[in-house]
C-alpha cells in the first residue's frame, strides 16, 4: 500500500501544473503537428458534412470531396424554414433536459445516503446499482416496451424520459458516491454543531461542493439522451414528437435522393449539441476531472 501513501502525500501539495508547465519547450512544432492531426481527424469528417450542405447535388456527384463552389444556401434555408426541424429540436431539448434533471436529482439523493450513512443493506443497494452498468437498454427493450404501453406512456416524451433516467442511474450513482464520500466529515460535523439538519447539510453544503461531479453526470445523461435512438424509435410515433436522431433518420430516407439536403439537415441536427458543449467545455472538463479523481 506504499503507492497509496505516496499518492496521499503528494496530494497535500496542490497541483500547479500551469506554472510548472512552462519549463517545457512549448513551441515544439512536433506537438503542434500532433495536435493538428488529432484535430483534423476529429473535425474533418464533421466539416465535410457541414460543407456538403452548402453544395448542390450536382457538385457532390461531380466531386465527392470538393469544396462548395458556388456556395448554395438553399439546403440550409429550406430545413430551417420547415417547422418539423424546430419541433424536433424542442423535443430533443426537452427530453434531454428532463432526463438530466431527473437523473441528477434522484441520483444525487441516493448517492448521498449510500456515500455517507451506514445502514443495513447499503452494500446491497450499491451493488444493485453497480450491476446496472452491465445492462444495455437493448437487452430489456421488449419488456420495457410492453410496460410503457401498459402505463400509457407510448407516444409521449415521458415514455422516453423515465426509462432514460432509470438507465442513467447506475453511471450517475457509481460516479457520485466516491465523489460525495470525499467531502470531509469535518464539514458535516461543523454543520451539525451549527444546528443544521441532515437535509440542510445536503442542500446547502454538499450540493454546492459537488458541483463538478453533478456536471459530469449531468453531461453524460444529457449526451445519452440527446443521442438516443432505439427507445425513441419505438416509443415515439408521430413525426411531431420525434427527437433529432429520429428526425435525421426519417429525413434521410424521405429525401434520400437529395444528399445535399440530408447533409444540411444532419449538420443542423449536430449543431445544438456542438454549441452546448463548446460553451460548457470548461465545466465539462472540470467535471470529468472530478469524476476521474473520484
Amino acid at each position: 500500500m506504499t503507492t497509496v501513501d505516496l499518492a496521499t502525500d503528494l496530494s497535500k501539495t496542490p497541483p500547479s501544473h500551469h506554472e510548472a508547465g512552462r519549463r517545457f519547450d512549448w513551441s515544439s512544432p512536433f506537438v503542434y503537428v500532433i495536435a493538428l492531426i488529432v484535430v483534423g481527424i476529429s473535425v474533418v469528417p464533421v466539416l465535410y458534412v457541414i460543407l456538403g450542405g452548402f453544395r448542390s447535388n450536382a457538385q457532390l456527384n461531380a466531386d465527392p470531396a470538393g469544396l462548395p463552389s458556388p456556395w448554395i444556401l438553399n439546403n440550409y434555408g429550406s430545413v430551417l424554414t420547415a417547422g418539423t426541424f424546430w419541433q424536433q429540436v424542442a423535443n430533443s431539448t426537452l427530453t434531454a433536459l428532463a432526463t438530466t434533471a431527473g437523473v441528477v436529482i434522484i441520483g444525487v439523493m441516493a448517492a448521498f445516503v449510500i456515500a455517507r450513512y451506514n445502514f443495513k443493506g447499503r452494500d446491497a443497494l450499491y451493488t444493485l446499482f453497480t450491476v446496472g452498468l452491465l445492462f444495455p437498454l437493448t437487452v430489456a427493450i421488449l419488456p420495457l416496451y410492453l410496460m410503457l404501453q401498459n402505463l400509457g406512456l407510448l407516444g409521449s416524451l415521458l415514455g422516453v424520459i423515465i426509462p432514460q433516467v432509470a438507465f442513467a442511474l447506475p453511471t450517475t450513482i457509481v460516479i457520485l458516491v466516491p465523489f460525495l464520500r470525499a467531502i470531509p466529515e469535518e464539514l458535516e460535523d461543523a454543520a451539525v454543531i451549527d444546528g443544521t439538519g441532515r437535509f440542510g447539510f445536503f442542500a446547502r453544503i454538499l450540493l454546492p461542493l459537488s458541483g463538478p461531479g453533478l456536471v459530469t453526470v449531468g453531461v453524460l445523461a444529457f449526451v445519452g439522451s440527446w443521442n438516443a435512438y432505439l427507445l425513441p424509435l419505438l416509443v415515439l410515433g408521430d413525426p411531431n414528437a420525434f427527437t433529432l436522431p429520429l428526425g435525421v433518420q426519417a429525413y434521410s430516407t424521405q429525401y434520400s435522393q437529395d444528399t445535399a439536403a440530408v447533409l444540411a439537415f444532419t449538420s443542423l441536427a449536430m449543431l445544438p449539441a456542438l454549441i452546448f458543449f463548446t460553451l460548457a467545455e470548461r465545466r465539462i472538463v472540470g467535471g470529468l476531472t472530478g469524476a476521474v479523481k473520484g
Partner: protein, 344 residues
C-alpha cells in the same frame, strides 16, 4: 482541490468494492461517550428512526425508478429466455436451457462473441496507447487549447446514429473518403471499406475509435491535471528525459484514470450496437456482427423472442464476468505495477 485528491487515493485503493463508511459520524451516539440514561436512549431511538426515514426517503425515488424500469424488464427478459416464444400470444412452450444451448453452439454467435473480444482487445491496445500518448503530448498550455479540446470532443458528442449515417456515406465505394485519399496522393490505398469481409471489422473499429478516442483523450487530460508537476520536475532535475519522466512517474500516477477508461471501454466494446447496426447491420456475411446485433437480428427480427432473450442474458453474463475479472485481476496488477515502478 485537496478534497478530490484525497479521494483519488481512497478510491484508487478500493474502487469497485463498497466505499468503507467513514460516515458513521452521522450516528448521534458516536460522539457521546459515557453512561446513558432513559431519556437519552429514547432520544437516540427517535433519532435513529428519523435517520432511517431520511435514508429511505432519499434512496426511494432512485431505487423505485431503477427497479421498475431497469431491473424488472431485465428479469422479465431472463424469464422469457426459457421459453420458445414468437413474441405474440401467451407463453406456452417451456424449453429450459435449449435457447442457451442453441446460441452457444451457433458458429455465427461464437463469431459475434469473437468480434466483441476483438473490439475489447483492439480498443485497449490501440485506443489506449494513442489516447495516453496524445494526452501526454497535449498536456501543456498550447495556444488554442480550448479549441483543441472542443475539437477532439466533437465526435463523442455526436449521436452514433448521425455519425454512422455520415460515415456510411463517406465510405461508400468511390465515395468522398476514396476521393480524399486520391486528392492527398494516397489513391492506392483505396479499398472497399464496408464491403470487403476481411477489412470491414477494422473499418468499423476505426470509426468507433474515431468516435471515442476524443473522449479518452479528454479523460486522460483531466486525469493528468491531478498529477502534480513537482515530481516530474524533480525527476528532470535529476536528469531524467521527458519520456523517462512520463513513463516512470506520470503514467503510473494516471493509473486510476486508465482503470476507469479501460472499464468503460471494455463494457462499451461488449455492448457495441448502434454504430455497427447503422453502418453494416452486422454484415456483410456476419463479418461485423456483435452479440447485440446478433440478438436483434436473430432474436427479435426473426420473431424468436425467447432465443433473443437468452442471447441478452449471455451478453449480460459475459459483461458481468469481465467486470469481475477486471476488478480482481487488473486492479491488483495495476497496484503491483505501480509499486514496482516507483521511482526512488
Amino acid at each position: 482541490m485537496s478534497i478530490s485528491d484525497r479521494s483519488t487515493t481512497e478510491v484508487g485503493r478500493d474502487r469497485g468494492s463498497i466505499p468503507a463508511g467513514r460516515a458513521d459520524s452521522a450516528r448521534p451516539a458516536a460522539s457521546q461517550p459515557g453512561p446513558m440514561n432513559e431519556t437519552r436512549r429514547a432520544h437516540q431511538r427517535r433519532n435513529a428512526r428519523r435517520l432511517n426515514l431520511f435514508i429511505a426517503l432519499f434512496a426511494a425515488p432512485a431505487l423505485i425508478v431503477y427497479l421498475t424500469f431497469v431491473l424488472l424488464p431485465v428479469l422479465l427478459a431472463a424469464f422469457y429466455s426459457f421459453w420458445k416464444w414468437n413474441g405474440l400470444g401467451p407463453l406456452t412452450e417451456f424449453v429450459g436451457i435449449e435457447n442457451y444451448a442453441r446460441a452457444l453452439s451457433d458458429p455465427v454467435f461464437l463469431g459475434a462473441v469473437g468480434h466483441n473480444l476483438f473490439f475489447v482487445i483492439a480498443s485497449l491496445l490501440v485506443q489506449g496507447p494513442i489516447a495516453i500518448g496524445a494526452a501526454l503530448l497535449l498536456n501543456r498550455p498550447l495556444r488554442g487549447r480550448t479549441v483543441l479540446r472542443v475539437a477532439i470532443f466533437i465526435p463523442y458528442v455526436l449521436s452514433e446514429v448521425i455519425a454512422g449515417v455520415a460515415w456510411r456515406l463517406l465510405l461508400q465505394p468511390n465515395g468522398p473518403f476514396d476521393s480524399f485519399l486520391a486528392a492527398v496522393g494516397l489513391g492506392g490505398l483505396k479499398q472497399l471499406w464496408l464491403a470487403d469481409t476481411n477489412l470491414v471489422l477494422w473499418t468499423v473499429f476505426a470509426v468507433v475509435s474515431w468516435k471515442y478516442l476524443g473522449f479518452a483523450i479528454i479523460l486522460f487530460l483531466a486525469g493528468l491535471q491531478g498529477v502534480p508537476e513537482e515530481l516530474s520536475e524533480a525527476a528532470q532535475i535529476d536528469g531524467a528525459s521527458w519520456w523517462q519522466t512520463q513513463r516512470h512517474i506520470t503514467i503510473p500516477l494516471l493509473g486510476p484514470t486508465i482503470r476507469i477508461w479501460a472499464f468503460l471501454s471494455i463494457i462499451g466494446s461488449l455492448q457495441l450496437f448502434d454504430m455497427v447496426w447503422i453502418m453494416t447491420g452486422g454484415g456483410p456475411a456476419n463479418a461485423t456482427s456483435t452479440m447485440a446485433t446478433y440478438m436483434i437480428q436473430f432474436g427479435f427480427q426473426r420473431s424468436q423472442f425467447g432465443f433473443g432473450s437468452a442471447v441478452a442474458v449471455i451478453l449480460f453474463v459475459v459483461s458481468f464476468i469481465f467486470a469481475l475479472i477486471y476488478q480482481r485481476f487488473v486492479l491488483s496488477r495495476d497496484i503491483g505495477g505501480t509499486m514496482s515502478r516507483r521511482v526512488g
